[in-house]
Symmetry: C2
Amino acid sequence: MEKTFSLDIPDTAKPRVVIIGAGFGGLNVVKHLKGKGFQVVLLDKHNYHTFQPLLYQVATAGLPAEAIASPIRQQFKHYPDFYFRLQKAVGIDPERNLVLTAGGALRFDYCVIAGGARPNFFGNGQMEKYAMPMKSVPEALDLRSQVLQTLERATVTADPGERRTLMSIALVGGGPTGVEIAGALAELKRHVLPKDFPGLDLRQMRIMLVEALPRLLPQMSENAGARAAKDLQRMGIEIHVNAMVEGYDGRTLRLKDGSTIDTYTVLWTAGVIGETFPGLQPAWMEKGRILTDPFCRLLFARKIFAIGDIALMKTTQYPKGHPGLAPTAIQMGRYVGKHLPEIHGGKPVPAFKYLDKGSLATIGRGKAVADLPGKLHFGGRIAWWIWLFVHINSLVSFRNKLLVFASWLYSYFTFDKGNRIIIRPFARKDDEATAEMVRANVPEETQVVH
Amino acid sequence: MEKTFSLDIPDTAKPRVVIIGAGFGGLNVVKHLKGKGFQVVLLDKHNYHTFQPLLYQVATAGLPAEAIASPIRQQFKHYPDFYFRLQKAVGIDPERNLVLTAGGALRFDYCVIAGGARPNFFGNGQMEKYAMPMKSVPEALDLRSQVLQTLERATVTADPGERRTLMSIALVGGGPTGVEIAGALAELKRHVLPKDFPGLDLRQMRIMLVEALPRLLPQMSENAGARAAKDLQRMGIEIHVNAMVEGYDGRTLRLKDGSTIDTYTVLWTAGVIGETFPGLQPAWMEKGRILTDPFCRLLFARKIFAIGDIALMKTTQYPKGHPGLAPTAIQMGRYVGKHLPEIHGGKPVPAFKYLDKGSLATIGRGKAVADLPGKLHFGGRIAWWIWLFVHINSLVSFRNKLLVFASWLYSYFTFDKGNRIIIRPFARKDDEATAEMVRANVPEETQVVH
């Protein structure tokens, strides 16, 4: 059964572009389509754009959630013939040119799939059930709650083994997110927790970074990986490379080499897969990404584009596709927004060309690694300043810049991470102790121990 | 069955003071007990102090949640023999001097009940089920989500009656919270929503303030109530005084005079009752508040104190108890913290004396009302500046001050409320449309309409 309700978007003579996803890619398509004679519809399951590069700071109490989220409607408030709809795309019908949502089917003349990536657990059901992903603001807040909750519980447990388990955190995936969150947790452990939890022996707190490949930051230079490993080790992070995760039952993380780690907190950043949906044919995809031609169009559906993390455009220079970074999504979004009028008019357009801006990862205060174009690899304080500048500068709204700047300025001088509040306790379904705490905080359900 | 586990708090020779609640009252007891020879245990169900006077700004997208929450452990990080425990008190045993929590029973030498107030629905089960309270950060975020969600749904509904229902908000209770939230919603409607929702006819948006007594702000002067009513009416708020609420089925709010209001969003601020728990005997209470002597002690349990909203100290000047305002809690907390050593030593102490600092309520940009001591009643821009200054100044941490100041500065110059993000969709259990949206945003449960 298919509803024909059109999300209250008027049918006009203008060609309609439906963009799925308000990440870096989607926003840039919208921005560059302005005033070009299209009706533009943007769909997202959130009413805000998430600045993903700083999610890890929300998770580690460095930033308020609102500092890295910008309301989508705000971005395009003076944009005629633009429609935002709070809808998740649940399917596409490439033959009839329809995007399917819970609110009904939406006809399009052109569609841009820019839904980004979601965690890839590689079919490991246990990891999917018990490990925590961190691709959205609520997930980052969940991780923040989990880290703080387990420390609160460690404070009152009488069982030393349980305490160690509660005080252990395993980060699976040694890419930028894993490295950045490890560094932030190390700083939390060093500068904040000793004062917050004077009763806890923090030497028992273990933060482990687990990577299947032989080194950290495999997407970056050897130099960056080695520097990150050295810095993190100095900060007290246990680094396990060549370490494949086999399973996790919610308490014991098992590695392929037979070793185990007892922990209630496992973050999973070890893989992503495109945020696809039914209607895309298997032949159009490879490893969860959508194959495109050099013009960002789907190989067999020329009215549909795919950009950013979800797209796989194989070029001579990038035979495995472009790096899964914000600049790729931004540049592809700009490309589609800029050239769609010509494509629509049947004019020839140049192929997409990726401009490598290098990559950065921060490790901690005054510590970052940078791979800049021209094989310029370096780390340390200068890389950190570049990282700070690039991130403040890339934030979408002035309000975000202001909040992030104020928060960072405060943290820089105080060594404090002031957002360590458990807004909503995180409860894994199997986790009775936490569920108990959640229940205890809901007045109706409290019971007297009298 | 009673657990004997003591939340891992060591038994020492020092007398132990257990404080229930980290609101204005509880924090001030802790602060003033420092270095006075007591072991101090603070219990709260949140790991942060909530600055309640600004909750309404979190709800109306004026402030990030983190701006008005300060981590409790942070406040007392250099405080020897102080213990914070993330526990809700679920009972008290005044005979054996025990506070009961989900984590076990805790012995005390002195106990200070400072749990504040929770919404009082006066036994109206329908209101309790369907109306939204706003006493905590998650509840404020729920209201923010609800207001934004209903507007998103109004955008796509084809049914005009449904659209009007989605665009109506009823605020029950004409006290400071009701007035402040009405003003903030009116500004949202005027300055932000027209740009955000160009497709909605915002003249259909109704914001109603419903008060059972004959005027707004019944706790303040006649002058303040009249001024607030005049300002709010000019801002487009519908004010219903002498209007008693009879019931609400989740869609239709019924008043005693037979009139009805169709709305999915009913905020309830029409009454509070002390956040009490089993073990307090009915004879010790009156109208949900705990009777105390002039020294903040329970009438029949001299080792137990009650302060703030939960306390009812009848004096000649305040025969019905002191006003339910932050200054009462702060002053009682300071009083107990300051004089407990003398009380413990058997020395005479002066009775608690309330210093009336007046009261303030803001209505909108440049609009507030003030009742200052000495029957000084005025409104307008000066009252608003005083309000701003008092609130920034009262925030507990420098970090909170910085975030609030930066946010207000931004809003002042841009007329923007930048935090209008739905972090987690709010779902009332009976509300299928919202539940559907929530489900639609959870990847596992999405279904194809194909």
